[in-house]
């Protein structure tokens, strides 16, 4: 549901980003309100991952404005952005091979009070508890994704950026991740999700933005999904 009364948590305006010489984001503008699940859709190479990285401050050059809780983040280093209360789960999951599962889980420091406890993370993902001493990268793809999500829920960050969390996973695990997103929402987390799988996205998202060639080209609420399916097929080329 779009509720204009909800406070804007993240406001991105005219965000431009470059990888070296190559200009990838050409003025991205969107907003995420407190407690929402917002999904970025778009074809491969549209700039979805780059948008998350630019928000998180881990891309070479970026300009424009990224406001979180009203505070401008564009000039900050990524460690300061994380400390402001944002957490990022990368597309490639970023599990550390030289750390065991427990060390991976405990790695991100607490940036604010109010994150999940380790016990609550194990409740969500019981698989992790049985593999604490395993090397992080020895987990299955699904378990690695659970670890990648689980470890950032402990930090107390209120805005969680998830980059294609369901990519390449079995349906049962996708359902588990869907349940996790609902649970997080009910606990007051705000989620910015990148997805190719819009059938999955439709089970969790409140709103959608569609990206093309480094710009936001469309946006609608979940209630308007039916009306937009045709258009969406065009955008995504499915």
């Amino acid at each position: 549901m779009t509720d204009a009364a909800l406070e804007t948590l993240l406001l991105v305006e005219d965000l431009q980003a470059w990888y070296g010489e190559s200009h990838v984001l050409h003025g991205v503008t969107f907003d995420v309100r407190s407690g929402e699940v917002v999904t970025l859709l778009g074809r491969n190479g549209a700039g979805k991952t780059t948008t998350l990285k630019a928000v998180m401050g881990i891309i070479g050059t970026r300009t424009g404005s990224v406001r979180y809780e009203g505070r401008e983040l564009i000039g900050l280093a990524s460690n300061q952005i994380a400390r402001a209360g944002l957490a990022f789960c990368p597309e490639e999951r970023g599990i550390f091979a030289s750390l065991d599962v427990e060390e991976n889980l405990l790695l991100p420091p607490e940036v604010r009070p109010g994150g999940l406890t380790t016990a609550q993370v194990f409740e969500l993902f019981p698989n992790l508890k049985e593999r604490l001493r395993s090397q992080g990268t020895k987990l299955s793809g699904g378990e690695q994704q659970m670890l990648a999500i689980g470890r950032i829920l402990r930090t107390g960050a209120r805005l969680v950026l998830l980059d294609e969390p369901t990519e390449g996973l079995a349906p049962v695990i996708i359902q588990q991740i869907g349940r996790t997103i609902h649970m997080l929402k009910s606990r007051g987390f705000t989620i910015l999700l990148v997805e190719q799988n819009f059938r999955f996205a439709s089970t969790v998202a409140d709103r959608y933005y569609v990206m093309e060639h480094g710009r936001i080209v469309d946006g609608f609420a979940n209630a308007e999904l039916e009306r937009n399916v045709e258009k969406l097929h065009d955008y995504l080329g499915v």
Binding site: N79, A82, F96
Partner: protein, 339 residues
């Protein structure tokens, strides 16, 4: 008053050595040799493979001492390489600076060895932090070669400055009173200071290993070695961690320098002599591995010592021969994780 040369109290040679050949063998060795013979002259003599026990165990001890320095220095290099991706050719000069700081502290301020063990690594480590902020931080994204050239040049500058002011003859540094003398173990004479160097280096190496492999801080270091961008995006100040890591690696070198001061003379070129062997040790052990650096350091020191006894002609080259063989069989090194 001229302070006593290191080891002067230790090198009274036993006059009843039954095996002059063995003594000659012991002599024909590297610049790092020391002579371990009893001032009492009463240690019991027996032979192993035709080698008198004195010579054998004496050389093994020298091997262990050298191994202690190899281990401490290659450990620092491994830690620095892991985080900074830079092969720190200044390491030998920083080791030398540690020895000089200990010397200055004693000569000019009357600050003793024990305090120098703490103060010198901190001071020299701090110069490392300045070097990292001024120079190294701009090189991380470039090829290894740039860091290597910069640190090599820096080593030449530092060594040149010290040689200019202090000449190249060694300055003596006295063994602290508490560690004068030695123990007669029956089969050999063990100077206290040397026993201390071996035990203390081993303790420092293992403590460093423990912190890196078993603690929270170590987990940050290992993770940042793998993927600094992501670790930083979790809220950790990775650039500061890198600076401190370099400072720590340099401090380890300086600590080795302080420990070396009473054994080898304090001289501007003491580091460049040692560091060549240490780089061979690092190549054999494999750049990225902490335990690899420790084990290889001590192990090669021992092998070098044994070679001095059994095949002295090769004692200066044995480490390089092993290096060549390892490079052929395992280019990443014995404990190396990546190529």
């Amino acid at each position: 008053m001229r302070s006593k040369r290191p080891g002067e109290g230790l090198t009274i040679e036993s006059t009843d050595d039954p095996h002059p050949l063995a003594r000659n063998r012991v002599r024909a060795t590297s610049p790092f040799q020391g002579e371990v013979t009893s001032p009492i002259g009463k240690t019991r003599m027996f032979e192993i493979f035709g080698i008198p026990s004195q010579a054998l165990f004496g050389q093994l001890l020298i091997g262990l001492i050298n191994g202690s320095f190899y281990a401490l220095l290659s450990l620092g290099l491994a830690v620095i390489f892991g985080m900074l991706n830079i092969i720190n050719f200044t390491h030998g000069a920083q080791y030398m600076m540690g020895a000089f700081v200990a010397y200055f502290l004693l000569q000019w301020a009357g600050i003793n060895y024990w305090a120098a063990l703490v103060i010198a690594p901190i001071l020299v480590g701090f110069t490392g932090i300045i070097v990292e902020r001024l120079f190294l931080q701009w090189l991380y994204k470039l090829d290894h070669l740039y860091g290597l050239l910069l640190t090599f040049g820096l080593a030449l500058v530092i060594e040149g400055v010290f040689r200019n002011y202090f000449g190249s003859s060694g300055l003596p540094y006295r063994i602290p009173d508490a560690l004068q003398g030695g123990q007669n173990l029956g089969f050999m004479f063990l100077p206290n200071y040397r026993a201390w160097v071996v035990v203390f280096s081993l303790a420092v190496c293992l403590a460093t290993w423990f912190v890196i492999e078993r603690t929270r801080l170590g987990a940050y270091l290992r993770a940042a070695t793998e993927n600094p961008t992501l670790v930083r995006a979790f809220g950790i100040n990775v650039p500061r961690m890198i600076t401190l890591t370099y400072g720590f690696g340099v401090a380890l070198a300086a600590l080795a320098g302080v420990m070396a001061a009473p054994i080898y003379n304090v001289s501007p070129q003491m580091g460049s002599h040692l560091i060549i062997v240490v780089f061979a040790v690092v190549v054999i052990g494999g750049m990225g591995s902490i335990m690899g650096a420790i084990v290889t350091g001590f192990g090669l020191g021992l092998i070098e010592g044994l070679t001095k006894v059994f095949f002295p002609e090769a004692s200066n080259t044995v480490i390089f021969i092993i290096m060549a063989i390892v490079l052929i069989i395992r280019p990443a090194g014995l404990f190396g994780r990546r190529v």
